[in-house]
Assembly symmetry: C2
Homo-oligomer: 200 residues x 2
């Protein structure tokens, strides 16, 4: 049976890592903001990507780096651009129709609501989000704890606005999710096998 | 390694069933409001109960029925009675010191905070809580959907007050839990093996 899993996440909570590991554990496709944006630019990629999953080639073959940066280039998530949203929503619907997948962000829980996705929200307390961001800081990013905290707050505020704008719902409200996972005290790689068992 | 698992829950979400099944799956002790109240009355019971767990006898040997009723007799949860709270907190701490256990309700997440319990919150949307309550209604309980909804709202309001009074925290705030489980669309018996795997 096809599995559609959507993941909402607070910035710095490790939601992408969780989604990536879960897709690996289940052997299904993985999409996030960067991948969806890239597919929107180059349609041929979507076919290649799904094909690579179907052929059981490594999930990581898709040419998008894993990580995060405070300095994204031309990041459409913060543009309240209906055309971009609609194009990305169309891509997400197409991808979900093609194969089982994990989709991080992009209001996918709402876009795919008629497909009854399993909806996960990944969150953490501020201290652990700051710690994770500092650990994953890329070279050249020299931010203080205070600056990191400001960035986290600012990015999540924009995510909440984006989500509310396109869905009419409150971002992070646990009633909109089937499972909410706090990564403050538990290692993501230890949570993934348990969550994967839900779909086994 | 000892496992201490605390479960907060909305009324009608199946939190007790979840806790009971999880304790069975893990083969560890189970306590809830009724059991703790009963132990508070008859101290000798606690020894018997823990002994029955240690000897791997059925977890269900404890002489407390499983179920729920809108008509509890002398239910101390709704009395803001510091003496009762303190006595029950002492019992919970003692039980947790003796053996691995699942504890439902009673602010156990807060009482045992120094033991780093794994904190679960079980919740559901109102429709599914009403449905569950109507299905589990005991003979002689003939309530309409509207009445059940009022009861659920009223009981959870009191739980929130009780929790806030003794812990100073907001009841059901996901930051106070490691895992929040929505039972609206997923069968509890299907969730339990996955959650048990976290402790395997």
């Amino acid at each position: 049976m096809k599995k559609i899993i959507t993941i909402g996440r607070e910035f710095g909570s490790g939601g992408r890592e969780f989604g990536r590991r879960l897709s690996e554990a289940l052997g299904i496709a993985y999409y996030d903001q960067e991948i969806v944006s890239e597919i929107a630019k180059r349609t041929s990629l979507s076919e290649q990507y799904v094909q690579s999953i179907v052929e059981q080639r490594p999930v990581f073959s898709f040419p998008i780096h894993i990580g995060r940066s405070f300095y994204p280039t031309a990041n459409p998530i913060f543009e309240m651009n209906m055309a971009v949203y609609q194009e990305q929503a169309r891509i997400i619907s197409e991808m979900a129709a093609k194969s089982s997948c994990v989709i991080v962000g992009r209001c996918a829980d709402y876009i795919l609501r008629d497909d009854n996705p399993f909806r996960i929200f990944v969150y953490a307390d501020m201290d652990s989000k700051i710690k994770r961001c500092l650990e994953k800081a890329q070279e050249g990013e020299k931010l203080t704890e205070k600056e990191v905290k400001q960035q986290i707050t600012s990015i999540d505020k924009k995510r909440a606005q984006y989500y509310a704008f396109y869905t009419g719902h409150t971002w992070g409200d646990k009633l909109n999710f089937d499972l909410c996972i706090n990564t403050s005290h538990t290692a993501i790689k230890e949570i993934v096998p348990a969550v994967a068992k839900l779909f086994g």
